[in-house]
């Protein structure tokens, strides 16, 4: 068994780890170490050396992102992105509910490094159990002097609050999240300025994913070399990897980065259910490009998955079996994105409903061959660089790759004027 620093304490039934249990397992030692003798610069260097990359989907190096935060003005903010609304993604919830103190400790370490005075945990509105567990852990941490004024007798002080979202996928985008946290509609902001210099209320702010922050206690306690050694490839660390769809054993596992799709799907997830075969893999949440059976031996890390034309994303994959209609599946995905578009920029606001209607027509057997050209065109017009934020390009990822890998299925719907799966 390989090491599982993120999930080793989590109980099989998922019931939360208490403060005393967390401490008994070495918890809060990293905070003691950092506040007791490391300068924020020292901590930053360790995080940079570890090569930790953001686990929220984009994979940006965490230490590099932090290094853009200026000394002043104050207050500065750290914001935890626990929005987790991308269909197929169910990883942060496990950490939030199962080991909330791990996140609290990660928040303290990140906040100390960037000099944040206040931190917020931004949770999706439906995660009521996560809210309960986080609030309880925060209260316990205040009582033990890990939060509040002069943490553990040091000069450093930090306040930590939980905010529950009103619910909208775009709020996961970090600048939209900041607007939502300010009580506004969750439209994204222009970048630059980047949140590092002008974020929440115009103050320097860092937004990090839940899983990203949960990696910090281990990195600080055990060092960057240990972290790099957890992985099978050049990207350091473990990753929460999930499988949903018609496998024998859907679930979530903490695995070394660099594990192959085959090991995950046929090992951990037990393979496809009897009588079904694998046709498509969406590797890391709804906004990543389809891969197929031919990619089963690809190693799951940031560069390798990108090289074959997709993204590791959130690391929670959705599998399409041979009895699931690709057109129906893509229609479902685009329906989601069309509904969640914030409406700010024209190509996304108008283009996604157009794609949705076109797909619906094809699925119902009312499509014409020209519809495929319309969809191809939309994939370009809503692609990277064409819209105000990354939501629309994310939506085009499964559509564009779906049109490439499953084109014959689209054509058959149009030729036969029906869905062959119904």
């Amino acid at each position: 068994m390989s090491e599982r620093p993120l999930t080793e304490r989590i109980r099989p039934d998922g019931a939360p780890i208490t403060l005393s249990e967390y401490e008994a397992a070495g918890g809060y030692q990293a905070v003691r170490k950092a506040l007791g003798g490391m300068s924020p610069k020292d901590v930053l260097q360790v995080v940079k050396d570890s090569g930790l990359r953001g686990r929220g989907g984009a994979g940006f190096p965490t230490g590099v992102k932090w290094s853009f935060v200026p000394e002043n003005p104050h207050p500065k903010y750290l914001v935890v992105n626990g929005d987790e609304m991308e269909p197929g993604t169910f990883k942060d919830r496990v950490l939030l509910e199962g080991d909330p103190h791990l996140l609290v400790e990660g928040v303290i370490l990140a906040s100390y490094t960037i000099g944040a005075d206040v931190a917020f945990v931004f949770l999706r509105g439906e995660y009521l159990e996560s809210e309960r567990q986080m609030k309880k852990a925060i209260t316990e941490a205040y009582a033990k002097g890990y939060l509040g004024k002069n943490i553990l007798g040091s000069e450093y002080s930090l306040e930590l609050y939980v905010h529950m979202s009103g619910g909208r996928y775009i709020c996961g985008e970090e600048t939209a999240l900041l607007n939502a946290l300010e009580g506004k509609r969750g439209n994204p902001r222009t970048k630059p300025p980047f949140p590092q210099t002008s974020g929440l209320w115009g103050k320097p702010s860092i937004v990090n994913n839940v899983e990203t922050l949960c990696n910090l206690p281990g990195i600080i306690a055990k060092g960057p070399e240990w972290f790099k050694g957890l992985s099978k490839t050049a990207n350091g660390g473990t990753k929460l990897i999930g499988v949903s769809g018609k496998v024998k054993n859907p679930g979530l596992w903490e695995l070394p980065l660099g594990v192959t799709f085959r090991e995950v799907i046929f090992g951990h997830a037990g393979g496809m259910r009897d009588g079904l075969s694998l046709r498509g893999i969406i590797p890391g949440g709804a906004s990543t490009d389809y891969l197929t059976e031919e990619h089963l031996d690809v190693e799951m890390d940031y560069e390798t998955v990108a090289k074959v034309g997709s993204r590791l994303g959130t690391g929670t994959m959705i599998l399409m079996d041979n009895k699931t209609c690709p057109v129906g599946m893509i229609h479902n995905l685009i329906t989601f994105f069309a509904h969640e578009s914030c409406g700010w920029c024209t190509p996304c606001r108008e283009g996604l409903p157009w794609a949705e209607k076109t797909l619906r027509a094809i699925e119902r057997g009312e499509g014409v061959m020209e519809d495929l050209a319309v969809l191809d065109r939309l994939v370009v017009d809503l692609g990277p660089g064409m819209t105000f934020c990354a939501l629309a390009p994310g939506a085009m990822a499964p559509l564009g790759s779906g049109l490439k890998y499953f084109r014959e299925d689209f054509e058959r719907h149009i030729r036969e004027q029906r869905c062959p799966w119904k």
Partner: protein
Amino acid sequence: MLTEDLIHEIDHEAAVFEQRRGACIDALRVVQRQRGWVDDESIQDIAAVLGMTADEVDSVATFYNLILRRPVGRHVIRICTSVSCWIMGSEMLVEYLQRTLGIGLGETTKDGRFTLIQNQCLGACDHAPALMIDDDLHRDLDPGKLEKILAQYQ
């Protein structure tokens, strides 16, 4: 009118932000938790408490999926129709619910017992199909299981 308790709770939320309007979504959630949905009068009251205009509060309220601006029944069913649940048969559950309750998506039963709403992925995709009733998450569903679960909500 908002009760003293509600105003107190909203003030408490507002205290953590640089500007009071930061608590707008919190305030909407606080009111909805007590009343099931947010009516026009509450929008005006929240605006007054946070120093915003009613239109500003309403523009926020209508942006967010979870803030309900229309009356709902005693129990709100939020069925996940996103991709993993769709693969695992959420359409069957939607049909079952529509047939059993005699309502469409977005509607409330005549006796005011249930409101049925479509929801995005609930983060329970490895236990699909899933839905929430009020604050409770139910997973690994089929119509048979769902029938027993519905009976718990009178």
